[in-house]
Chain length 204, copies 2
């Protein structure tokens, strides 16, 4: 009886999460290309996504790439970049510290079941998301699983107003960034494929 009530509460909560995703899609806030993943990731009854990024490339101004609050995004895309774009942003006036960042896919899942969370972590790890973990425990609102890989690049392009990367190497840096973005997507595809063929641990 208690279990049934918990399940009902979860389903209600999950449906409110899915409604949020639907609204994000309507207002165009959703990361393009993410929908095919969301459908599969939200199919298991005890699993729901609360945030999801398929990976992106940004050009960011800030002293350190890990200080997100202090950083200013100069450019952002979910597609490959070309060298002209990077060069253009690097040539803007009054810049001091500039990074080229590639952030691989990052997903947040909720689940009320530790068994489900544990299986998801296993799938994530074997799909190449080695930095995945349960980041908070909360049996009522759902435990949160963060799925993340080491596929990331944070390349300092400019430091204290001086361009760090030699001009002739900018092209190869851009190639790296695009390859990293692609590698992240390959891993995401692996995870999608694993979850789509069933996740028994995430059924009530």
């Amino acid at each position: 009886m208690q279990r049934l009530r918990n399940l009902e509460a979860w389903l209600e909560y999950k449906s409110s999460l899915l409604k949020g995703i639907y609204e994000d899609r309507v207002i165009g806030y959703l990361d393009p290309g993410v929908e095919k993943y969301l459908e599969v990731f939200n199919k298991p009854t005890l699993l729901a996504t609360t945030s999801s990024c398929t990976g992106r490339i940004t050009i960011v101004e800030g002293l350190w790439h890990w200080e997100r609050e202090e950083a200013r995004i100069l450019y952002k895309t979910h597609d490959p970049v070309n060298v002209d774009v990077v060069f253009k942003h690097l040539s803007r006036k009054f810049l001091k510290n500039v990074w080229l960042k590639v952030t691989g896919p990052i997903l947040h899942f909720r689940t009320p079941s530790l068994r489900c969370a544990s299986k998801l972590l296993q799938y994530a790890r074997t799909s190449g998301f080695k930095h995945s973990g349960l980041i908070s425990l909360n049996p009522t609102g759902g435990h949160t699983v963060e799925v993340m890989s080491g596929v990331q690049l944070m390349i300092p392009l400019m430091r204290e107003g001086v361009v760090v990367v030699s001009e002739k190497s900018l092209e190869s840096i851009v190639v790296m960034a695009n390859e990293a973005l692609e590698e992240g997507r390959r891993r995401l595809e692996k995870l999608r494929s694993k979850i789509s063929s069933g996740l028994d641990a995430c059924e009530p």
Copy 2:
């Protein structure tokens, strides 16, 4: 009764882990400077460290920094580096892809208690270790908590045999690396201080 037996099993397991750490110290395998942390981190009854690094700087050869198996470590230190060392390694013959890596502190904890794990995660997060999480669940051998921050640098120094970073910027790259190492240590110190003033959730 069951609980007591579990606690006994855990204490036995923990004591074998601590013995391993002691042996690592005797053979000089232990990361220098880590001992003052290990003492504090292993004090709560339901907590034990299984691996711990206070942060390090490496020069690594390999196509991608995240492919650890394929990478060759050319140089490794737990102390600040100077530009001559980096320059010397970058001048070695037959190199293709070289990275300067700063890895912030990474710690693995075991605990049989989810309540303890949850509190540890909270302490880790508020100390600046934003990428911390429970990476595996196992009530018998202990759940594993990974404590990790975003304080990391992976700077490509050479790509396909061509030096990427302009020679005059090598100095400022080295300064960055040393500052990042220091920032990691500051966060580790915060975590140490929090845990040393008590972790009730990790007492039986």
